[in-house]
Amino acid sequence: MIWFKPSILSPSYADARLGWGLAAAAGLAAAILLLIVLLLLRESWPVLQRVGGVRFFADQGWYPAEEMYGLAPMLWATLAASFGAVLLAGPLGVASALFCRHYAPFSVARLYRRMVTLLAGIPSVVFGFWGLTVLVPLLAQFQPPGASLLTGILILALMILPTVALTADAALAAVPDAYLRGAAALGLSRGATIAGVVLPAARGGIISGVLLATARALGETMAVLMVAGNVVQTPTSLFDPVRTLTANIALEMAYASGDHRAALFVSGLMLMGLVIILAAAAWRLSGGRLHG
């Protein structure tokens, strides 16, 4: 009896081939990110080489036709809009998640969670459109022209709220029941349990969710483009119209060429850098897994 004869035709070899094929596919999927970075570098290289990186921060203003490439006002606008949106959406999102897990009756919680999930699926262009037709005119009655950093913040906050709420909800769900039972056995009230036990236990997940939401806010284009007014200036008040880095790309790619186009790729690189920093922070916090 000859038992285990390995042969070229045996399934083990087919498995090895399948493994290599799949690994190649995975490598290709991973290479897309590298390709994006390389291409952004390649396209922005001419202007980076001629003008240098510093002037993108140092130049007074963005006048590409006159070779003034100051991205600083738009960078500030981007940061201000994102920061404001996170400031609003963070607490609201965590409160929404707490509402679902600990306050609402079961049926209400289910309905509410479904609503938040649907809200997460609404396209940014619809948020922007609604902001433009409803929010901007409303605000213009108090403080013309209406399209401003504030409207940008409000719309962005509404947009990233589901991200915060859903990740916080998942983090709250992951808090072991034993903690809750332990807190109840000590006679802690609901508020004290949440403040003292639940939130500290879910802190990591909540913070990484907020970081994810920040990344989304930084990278969002359409919603802010449509409601924030698009004037290149460093914001000094909430009612100033502003233009973010993303909106700038969307507005000017249509006609940009030469160094101007390359400068837009530089701003793309800058956005990419911001997002990678945030992703790295969230990655560290969540212990190696971001999405899904």
């Binding site: 009896m1 038992w3 285990f4 004869k5 390995p6 042969s7 045996s10 399934p11 083990s12």
Partner: protein, 288 residues
């Protein structure tokens, strides 16, 4: 009581009064054969550099039922999985030592594991039929091993289902989902699925412990009837069961944080005249 072994060693064909028929013997000795089919020499096993099993040496005899007993976590299941190289699938699992099956090195790097596993079948603690129909559960592995002939497939299907006493229960619903069967039926289906591949050795990891007492008895009867035709290695926590069905028994215990084989011998000897104090304490229920 000296006749116990002989009584256990009756031919697997059984009497006509038996509820289950295994049909005529096709291969193997009519009963236990003192010739070792599997030789394990100095087998050690570790998970992520934490030893789980150390220095196990034992012979498993052709056509016999060998029971492995001992408390939980003493490496019995790890030992079983190393025989069909299922340990290959566990990340961080390192095996050392020699395993010879039918005088061939089962740990050879160039060995075709799929052929090995076809020859060394395994039944798990929790019945694990695939989420397919009853028919496809049996036919799919056969097709993958190159049995494509329709009449041969039908033939084996009926034969193995009859062997495990399931044919009459399921012959009218072969195309319904296997997961709709009861736990005992599922376990018998898994046994039939393994038998259909015509293995020489069957490894069983507590095959009855997830079943209710009635189904458990049915499966135990079935294992009895495999004697002679198959070489069976069974891990069980049920000492009475081990005593009822096994020809040989091995007793595992944890020593210095790693499982090891304390004693191995004829079933009767292990249970009635254990050579080791630990064995004596365990089989009498004083420890473990």
């Amino acid at each position: 009581m000296t006749s116990t072994i002989d009584m256990h060693c009756r031919p697997a064909t059984g009497t006509p009064a038996d509820a289950y028929t295994l049909g005529p013997l096709q291969s193997g000795p009519s009963c236990c054969d003192p010739e070792p089919l599997i030789r394990v020499e100095n087998l050690s096993l570790s998970y992520d550099n934490k030893p789980a099993l150390a220095g196990v040496t034992l012979d498993i005899y052709r056509g016999c039922i060998t029971a492995l007993i001992g408390p939980s976590g003493c490496g019995k299941t790890s030992f079983l999985s190393s025989l069909n190289r299922l340990t290959d699938l566990i990340p961080g699992c390192e095996v050392e030592g020699r395993i010879l099956i039918n005088r061939q090195d089962a740990r050879a790097p160039d060995l075709d594991v799929q052929t090995l596993r076809r020859q060394v079948g395994m039944i798990f603690q929790k019945p694990n039929p695939f989420p397919l129909s009853i028919r496809r559960n049996l036919e799919m592995p056969l097709r993958e091993h190159g049995v494509r002939n329709r009449s041969e497939l039908c033939d084996r299907l009926e034969r193995t289902l009859t062997d495990v006493g399931l044919w009459d229960e399921v012959k009218d619903r072969l195309d319904t989902p296997a997961l709709a069967l009861s736990g005992g039926q599922q376990q018998r289906l898994c046994l039939a699925r393994a038998l259909a591949l015509e293995p020489s050795v069957l490894l069983m990891d507590e095959p009855c412990s997830a079943l209710d007492p009635l189904s458990s008895a049915v499966v135990e009867d079935l294992i009895q009837r495999l004697r002679g035709r198959y070489t069976v290695v069974i891990v069980t926590h049920n000492l009475a069961q081990a005593r009822r069905i096994a020809n040989y028994a091995g007793f595992f215990w944890v020593r210095e944080r790693a499982g090891t084989l304390i004693e191995f011998g004829r079933c009767q000897q292990i249970f009635e005249e254990p050579a080791h104090d630990l064995t004596a304490a365990y089989v009498s229920g004083a420890r473990g």
